[in-house]
Symmetry: C2
């Protein structure tokens, strides 16, 4: 029997590459994506669907849009009344979001008998986003093992790679980056101005790979 894993798939370049990587590693991959009331939910979920379809894996879409209220006033990613910054600011943090997603992923893993949860947290985000840090997900793994009585693993396989290195790996794996979505703003096209668009542009440039998405700016 093939080993089974959950991949938290937002439809962005990092998580899409994690999904391709996990399949190549021999896992039976189950994608999991969330509408947590983020501005870009429509575009992200649409991307996650297309990536899952292209990779030939099942995708479960979980409606957590009620979290919009939990996060009201706390983050620009969910509150359209807040300005969208072009560089890191605390208003870009969605507090404890990765834990919310990981906890549901662990619940799902326990339900379907998966041995691991993979997510796309990146070391380059770790100085700014505490729930992208290795010490966080290692502590969460411990809580997950104790809280389920299993030996489940929580891993961020690209944590120690640069974003440009993830893109290089993904290009080898055939990730269709034109289908991925990075922009926080939730328009029809990538805005090209938010922190996430700028990080994406920079990573493709550093990798020397052409970014196939169209930007407004």
């Amino acid at each position: 029997m093939r080993k089974r894993a959950i991949v938290i798939l937002s439809g962005g370049p990092d998580s899409s590459t994690v999904a391709y990587w996990a399949k190549r590693e021999g896992y039976e991959v189950h994608g999991l994506t969330f509408d947590y009331g983020q501005r870009a939910s429509r575009a992200e979920i649409d991307s996650a669907k297309r990536i899952a379809e292209g990779l030939g894996i099942p995708l479960k879409i979980v409606d957590l849009s009620a979290l919009k209220e939990v996060y009201a006033g706390a983050t620009a990613l969910c509150d359209e009344g807040m300005p969208m910054p072009s560089a890191f600011e605390p208003s870009l943090i969605v507090p404890f979001r990765n834990a919310v997603m990981l906890s549901i992923a662990v619940a799902y893993a326990a339900s379907i008998g998966a041995e691991a949860v993979f997510y796309g947290a990146q070391g380059s985000d770790a100085p700014f986003y505490p729930d992208c840090r290795r010490e966080f997900f290692e502590a969460f793994e411990r809580a997950a093992r104790l809280g389920t009585g299993t030996s489940i693993r929580i891993e961020a396989p690209f944590h120690d790679m640069k974003k440009s290195e993830v893109i290089e790996l993904g290009a080898e794996l055939g990730v269709p980056y034109g289908l991925t979505w990075s922009c926080y703003s939730g328009g029809e096209r990538h805005c090209g101005r938010c922190e996430s668009c700028l990080n994406r542009k920079r990573a493709f440039e550093e990798a020397g790979i052409e970014d196939p998405v169209a930007y407004e700016a």
Copy 2:
């Protein structure tokens, strides 16, 4: 300024007593309740609302009913096709449910500046339900601190009390137990036969306090 805390309030006797206790301890209490697709969601949320109203605290109700699908086939609490046991069986475990609730509670605490999350986990359930164990919630607290960069506390203040002792304390605090809901089955009245009804009956008997709810059996 009064210290602020989140109480995860299911509308059952334990969590209702936690809410009354936290208010007496001087906290500005914010209740948080979840529809996670459980059979008894209507009754539980109705109870949580009445308890919050009686105590004069705000209550946020978070719709996680999409979890019904995540938990399909995994637990009798969410899957009406599965038999409802009268004594502990693994099908009563909702995998990692307390972590899902705690992670959203921590997110909410970070959003509104609360210093603690209280939940009603009980040591007497700990042998059966791994996410009621002290080692679990202590590990989760560590993950929460690392994942938010705060010194948030996660506490189960009645973890070391018997359920009957919780009832005794609640009676002193004036908890209106007639408004609380324990039954897993989600009928019009408490079934009196499921594990949760039987635990409740036993606790009131041991405390020598009359249980004000009506049972079918």
